[in-house]
């Protein structure tokens, strides 16, 4: 089991105990690749008998750390997982390994597989809705899904080739012939490379890993920026809108944020319809001449950058402001559909969750459009300011 770590916190103790408690396999070796923890994560791992590989924080990348861990591991199977995950039973690893070791039939034989996630008790509404959408897209919401090469377009490659490093099991020999590549989304890249060469992969919903997030709006802003750039980089057919005006993006976002700040989900109203109604209001909002306030969703470094970028932006802003508005409304409709299926009437508790989810959706939409604005410029013509945005947004994700 290979786990990249950085300041994993007190819950890492439980993961180590759970991994050691796995039953049904001959033995379990845990390799921790720690990138400079200051909270004792590495010593805790050593105390629990793990092999610890230490690297400087500056050396970390998702691929590099995991490749190092694999090199330090001696087992026949590699299970890549993360520091804040937790297997959902003591036979979880055995259940996951069975299709690799003893498939019930040739039809079930796969080259690698991942467990799908079961949310933690502190999971956020937006994450839950996102997982629901993503797993539905992958075809593993309620069933185990076999993935294989079907079509060469990005939708097919993504839906068929998805592996997840939250819990990814792969024979050592197979892994070493591929290894992780890329600075980011190394699991999807690995899966796509494998299905292109004829391997079959599985996303398993019958053996869940407990994992989810509850992250602030600023994380969603950055994360979506990175996600979009990754998709554009890896999938040449991934289409993107033409976005030129940072002023337009931010003008739209700040007008929508003002609308959001004045919004209070009414107690007793149906949750899904309330978000849908807010989406309709957002879609009707006039944003073409919205003043661009440097809204940064708590990501402080973005404020000064926007304060410089907005006045310097000479592109026409109307189209991009409207795109910001429409994409936000589209995303809210997805959130509304999930909320409508899951929740009944709104109470104080749910209202808080809904507000958080809506604001994070806005941050995420702005992150996507900033990524399109960045990617729409060729490397040669890209101003220094946009390069600075790229470095800022990628830091820490």
């Amino acid at each position: 089991m290979i786990i990249p770590t950085y300041n994993a916190g007190s819950e890492f103790y439980w993961l180590l105990r759970k991994l050691k408690a796995q039953k049904g396999l001959k033995g379990v070796e845990v390799v921790v690749v720690d990138s400079g923890s200051s909270d004792g994560t590495d010593t805790l791992a050593e105390k629990h008998g793990c092999t610890v590989v230490r690297i400087p924080n500056s050396e970390f990348s998702h691929s590099h750390a995991r490749n190092l861990g694999a090199d330090a591991a001696s087992g026949d199977l590699y299970l890549f997982t993360v520091q804040d995950a937790y297997p959902a039973s003591d036979t979880w690893l055995y259940t996951l390994a069975r299709p690799l070791l003893r498939p019930a039939s040739e039809d079930e034989r796969v080259s690698a597989l991942s467990a799908t996630e079961f949310p933690r008790r502190d999971s956020e509404l937006l994450y839950n809705a996102g997982v629901d959408t993503h797993y539905s897209f992958l075809g593993c919401r309620h069933n185990d899904r076999l993935g294989r090469m079907v079509e060469r377009d990005h939708m097919s490659l993504r839906s068929q080739g998805q592996l997840s490093d939250v819990a990814c099991l792969i024979p050592a020999e197979t892994f070493q012939s591929y290894r992780y590549e890329g600075r980011y989304a190394e699991d999807l890249i690995l899966g796509v490379r494998m299905i292109r060469e004829g391997h079959r992969l599985a996303m398993v919903s019958s053996a869940k890993i407990i994992h989810s997030h509850n992250r602030p709006a600023r994380y969603h802003l950055k994360r979506t920026f990175v996600d979009v750039l990754f998709l554009l980089d890896v999938f040449p057919d991934f289409s993107m809108p033409v976005v030129e005006s940072v002023r337009g993006i931010v003008g739209g976002a700040s007008a929508l944020h003002a609308l959001f700040q004045a919004w209070t989900p009414p107690t007793g109203a149906p949750a899904g319809e309330t978000i849908a109604e807010f989406a309709r209001r957002a879609r009707r909002l006039a944003v073409d001449d919205a003043p661009a306030q440097p809204i940064h969703f708590g990501f402080e470094p973005l404020g000064p950058w926007l304060a410089e970028a907005i006045p310097a932006d000479t592109h026409a802003s109307r189209w991009d402001a409207e795109l910001m508005r429409n994409m936000f409304a589209d995303r809210l409709e997805g959130l509304a559909a999930f909320a409508g299926r899951v929740y009944g009437p709104i109470d104080d508790h749910l209202a808080v969750e809904m507000r958080h989810a809506v604001e994070k959706t806005l941050a995420s939409t702005m992150g996507a459009l900033l990524a399109y604005a960045y990617a729409g410029q060729s490397d040669a013509r890209r101003p220094e300011r946009m390069k600075a945005l790229y470095d800022m947004m990628l830091a820490g994700v």
């Binding site: 819950e11 439980w14 959902a88 079961f118 008790r121 929740y343």
Partner: protein, 403 residues
């Protein structure tokens, strides 16, 4: 998926363990993308607030005949309650799965589910299905092996208002509803074993109550200057054994050790007696759920001296999460768990002398206690429990769809 939780009482009027577990399940189901709703009952023809929400979970309340204890215990049928349950179900879009968290006061609701062939799962958190006294303790205080088809109830636990044939009828009625359930889940092997003994052939799964492990970190090093601390956590009552434990501790009087008794006490006479047993025993009152990890971190050995068989004991498992070995009664699930894992010692529940001896032993054998600590099992995490149930719900939904 639409999931209905059926429970005999709920927040905010009641806030016990079953209510908390029900809310946890419902919220976990929501996070997993399901619609979750709670159906509960209150005394009175028409509830003052028939529908409300708790932490985003919709709750519907139906009324029950005032004060008819026999009906609540499953003796006889309240036709009006049954009609209300039917009207409630008719008023809602169909549920794919129903989880009966406790059938007390709501046997009629389970009967409606069975009649309508709506797949349901029943969780057995105690022995209500086979024992109208709920805890398998006879009126005279003796442990009961089970109802023997109602014959044991008629012999040892009669209710003045109940007809002689009522006990067998209750047994048939409630165990019949277990047999018609699509899944029967016990919170412990101990409960499952008692049920299987009394309902031959019934398939009973075991899923324990999960612990919120995120609230517990790695066990901390105990302060060197802290006295050896025996701890009790829970409602302070004779049934839970607080009296026998405290008297045992006072009799053992281990040098430099203390006994902390933490939890609400509604028995003034017991509280006075405990306070009179000496300065090394403290009675500290109730504690908020969020503070439980800190309280347990202040103990060295947990004591669970219940005089009635515990079906599970969340305190014991939270104690495991806090790194605490345990001295426990020799009855119920606590005895089974401690014996299985050798992470403590079982003690004759009712014997002050036995508790004194066990406390003396634990206080004088630090190496043994350290070995108990090393053997502590890893508790089930609350999300694991939720995941197991999510699998059960999917099975129920498949049955519903097939029907």
């Amino acid at each position: 998926m639409r999931i209905l939780y059926v429970v005999h009482q709920f927040f905010p009027e009641f806030s016990g363990g079953t209510e908390q577990v029900t809310l946890n399940h419902a919220k976990a189901a929501q996070r997993d993308g399901a619609y979750a709703e709670v159906l509960t009952v209150t005394v009175g023809e028409a509830p003052k607030v028939p529908a409300y929400t708790v932490d985003g979970v919709p709750v519907h309340v139906i009324g029950q005949a005032v004060g008819d204890a026999l009906l609540q215990l499953g003796y006889g049928e309240e036709a009006a309650l049954k009609r209300r349950v039917e009207r409630y179900l008719d008023s809602r879009p169909p549920f794919d799965a129903v989880h009966v968290m406790h059938a007390f006061r709501l046997v009629e609701a389970v009967e409606v589910l069975a009649e309508r062939r709506i797949p349901y799962a029943v969780t057995l958190t105690d022995f209500f299905s086979i024992c109208h006294r709920i805890n398998l303790i006879r009126v005279n205080g003796d442990l009961c092996a089970g109802p023997e088809g109602g014959a044991a109830c008629a012999a040892f636990c009669t209710i003045p208002e109940a007809a002689p044939e009522a006990y067998a009828a209750r047994y048939e009625r409630l165990t019949g509803l277990l047999r018609q359930a699509s899944a029967v889940v016990a919170v412990s092997e101990y409960v499952a074993g008692r049920i299987r003994d009394q309902v031959p052939g019934l398939k009973v799964l075991v899923v324990g109550n999960g612990v919120d492990l995120l609230r517990f970190g790695p066990p901390k090093k105990r302060p060197a200057d802290r006295p050896l601390t025996f701890g009790y956590l829970g409602t302070v009552s004779e049934a839970k054994g607080a009296g026998v434990l405290a008297e045992g501790f006072a009799r053992a009087a281990p040098e430099g050790a203390v006994l902390r008794i933490v939890g609400p006490c509604y028995d003034d006479a017991l509280a006075a007696r405990l306070r009179g047993l000496g300065p090394s025993i403290s009675l500290e009152g109730p504690v908020k759920a969020d503070d439980v990890p800190d309280v347990l971190a202040g103990f060295d050995i947990l004591c669970v001296p219940s005089q009635v068989p515990e079906a599970f004991s969340l305190s014991l498992h939270e104690g495991f999460a806090a790194g605490l070995p345990a001295l426990v009664s020799d009855i119920g699930n606590v005895a089974a768990v401690v014996a299985k894992h050798r992470c403590g010692r079982t003690v004759k529940a009712t014997s002050v002398e036995a508790w004194a001896e066990a406390i003396t032993f634990a206080a004088s054998k630090p190496k043994t206690v350290a070995n108990w600590r090393k053997a502590l099992p890893l508790p089930l995490r609350s999300e694991e429990e939720a995941f197991f149930y999510s699998q059960i719900y999917r099975g129920l939904a498949r049955l519903r769809a097939a029907a």
